[in-house]
Amino acid sequence: MWRKHRPVLLAALFTVLLLLLWQYALAPAFKAIPSPTEIADVLREDWDSLWADTRATAEVALLGLLVGSGIAIGLALVALAARSLESAILRLGLALYSVPIIVVAPLLVLWLGQGQKPRVAISALAVFFIVLVNTIRGFRSTTRESHELMYVLSASRLGVLRYLRAPSALPYLMSALKVAVPASVFGAVIGEWIGANKGLGVVMFFSLYQFEVPKLWAAMVLTTAIALAGYALVALAERLVMPWHESVQTSRLETA
C-alpha cells in the first residue's frame, strides 16, 4: 500500500503541510497574502459569477489553443512540402513570438474589435510558435532507412506523410501541447486584462484595483486549475493516441 501509492501520498502530505504553513505562518505575517480559508470563502460566496468567468477564460484559451496549433501545424506542413520555405517560416514565427504579447494585445483589440476575437488571437499567438517548432522537428524526426523503405514501397508523398511523418511527429506535438496549454491560458488572461467584460483576467483586474486581495487569489487559483486541467487532458490524450510510445510505456511501468 505504502510502496504503491508513495508518490501520491507524499505529494498530498507536502500539500497539506504547505497549506498549514500558509494558513498559520505566512498569511498572518503578510497583509497582501490572504489565508487559504479566506480564499476558499471567496470561492464559495462568489462561486456563480467566478464559475462563469472561469468558463469564459477556459473557452478563450481552448479556442486560442486550437487556432494557434491549427495554424502552426498548417505552416509545418507547408514547410514540409516546400523545404525552401522552412527557414523563412521559422524566422517569421520567431519574430512574431519575440514581440511581447502585452505590446501586441492592444493592437489586436484595435484590429479585431471588442469581442472574443482579439483574446483568442492573443492566446493563439502565445501558443503558435511552441507548436510550430516542435511539429517541424517532429516531421523531420524520421530515419533514413524508414524513408528508403517507403521509397522501395513506392509510397506517395501523402502516403509518407500519413504513415511515417505524421505518426513520428505525434510525440513532439503532444509534448508541445503540454507546454502550450498553460501558454494559451496565459494569453487568454492577458487578453482579458486589455479589454473584456467577463473572464478571470477581468476579475483579477478589478479585484486588484479595488484591493480585494482574496478575490484576486481566488482568480489565480482558478486560472491555475484551468491550466492543470488542460494539461491533464493532453496527458490523457497522449496515452490514448500514442500508447506505443516509450514515454507512455515507462510511465505505465512506474505506476504499475
Binding site: 530515419t143 532507412e145 524508414s146 522501395v152 513506392s154 504513415y163 500514442m242 506505443w244 510505456q249
Partner: protein
C-alpha cells in the same frame, strides 16, 4: 526474342561516385555480374566496400553514375514501381505505432491491395516466419530476431520476384543468427524468389548461397565469383562437412588477400 524471366538480374559496368563535401568518393567501379532466376547470391566484402551501395542501386534507391542494371529486363525503377522488389535492411525499420500485423500490412495498404484475401496472406506469412500469435504485439515488445522476422514477412507480402537483403542479421547474436539463417532458407525455398544477400559473415555466405561474389574495397569491385557446391536443402550438419570448410577457406582467402592488397596499396601511397 523471348521475354526474359522477371527475376533475373543483369548488372553491367556499374560505377557509382558520390559527390561529397570533401571531394568525390568512388564507391563502385565497373561492377558486372548476373543472377539467375530463383538463385541465391551473396555479396561479401569488407566494410566500406560499397556492397550496401550496390544493393541500393538494385533497389532503385541510388542511381548508378554509369553502367546499366536490369531486373527481369526492366530498369530497377520499373521493377520497384511494379512492386517486384522486397527489401530487408540491417535495421528492421518497423514502425512502432503499428502492431506486428499492421507493419506487415503496410506495403499492401500503400499498394492499394489490402483486402480480406491479402490480409489472410499476411497472416499466413507471419506464420511462415514463426510469429503467429504475435499479430497484435508492438515492435518494441519483440526481440531483435523477432523484429527482423517481421521485416522479412513485410518484404514478402507483395509477392516480390526479387528479395534484397542488406545484412539483415548483422546486429543479431551468433546463436540467433544461425537460427535465422535456417529460417531464411526455409522461407526462401517456400516462396521461390530470387535472393541477393549482403553480408560480411563468411559462414553465412557459404551456408546460404548458390554463388558468392567477393568484393574488394575502395573502389568496390567484384574480385572473385565462387560457386558453392553444396546440395539443397541445406542442413546445419553440412556446416561440419569438409566441402563446407573448403568453400569457406576459398572465400576467406580471396577476401583477405584483397583486403591485404588494399592495405598494401594504401601503405604505398
Amino acid at each position: 526474342m523471348s521475354s526474359p524471366d522477371p527475376s533475373a538480374i543483369e548488372v553491367s559496368g556499374v560505377s557509382k561516385t558520390f559527390e561529397l563535401p570533401g571531394g568525390p568518393l568512388e564507391a563502385l567501379a565497373q561492377v558486372s555480374f548476373s543472377v539467375e532466376p530463383d538463385e541465391f547470391v551473396t555479396i561479401i566484402g569488407p566494410s566500406g566496400c560499397g556492397k550496401s551501395t550496390l544493393l541500393r542501386i538494385l533497389a532503385d534507391i541510388y542511381k548508378p553514375t554509369s553502367g546499366e542494371v536490369t531486373i527481369g529486363g526492366q530498369s530497377p525503377r520499373e521493377a520497384r514501381r511494379r512492386r517486384e522488389l522486397g527489401v530487408v535492411f540491417q535495421d528492421p525499420t518497423l514502425f512502432p505505432w503499428r502492431d506486428v500485423l499492421g507493419n506487415v500490412l503496410l506495403p499492401l495498404k500503400l499498394a492499394g491491395r489490402l483486402n480480406s484475401d491479402t490480409r489472410s496472406e499476411a497472416r499466413a506469412l507471419l506464420e511462415l516466419v514463426g510469429l503467429s500469435g504475435f499479430e497484435k504485439a508492438r515492435p518494441n515488445q519483440l526481440s531483435g530476431g523477432m523484429k527482423q522476422r517481421v521485416a522479412i514477412a513485410r518484404s514478402l507480402v507483395l509477392g516480390p520476384t526479387l528479395l534484397l537483403l542488406d545484412e539483415p542479421f548483422g546486429a543479431l547474436d551468433e546463436i540467433t543468427r544461425q537460427r535465422m539463417n535456417l529460417e531464411l532458407l526455409r522461407i526462401w525455398s517456400e516462396t521461390g524468389t530470387t535472393a541477393v544477400l549482403i553480408t560480411h559473415s563468411l559462414q553465412e555466405a557459404v551456408f546460404l548461397s548458390d554463388r558468392i561474389l567477393v568484393m574488394s574495397a575502395r573502389p568496390g569491385r567484384i574480385v572473385e565469383e565462387i560457386t558453392v557446391d553444396l546440395p539443397r536443402p541445406r542442413t546445419p550438419e553440412m556446416m561440419r562437412e569438409q566441402r563446407f570448410y573448403d568453400t569457406l577457406t576459398a572465400v576467406g582467402k580471396v577476401l583477405f588477400d584483397s583486403v591485404e592488397a588494399a592495405t598494401l596499396a594504401t601503405a604505398e601511397l
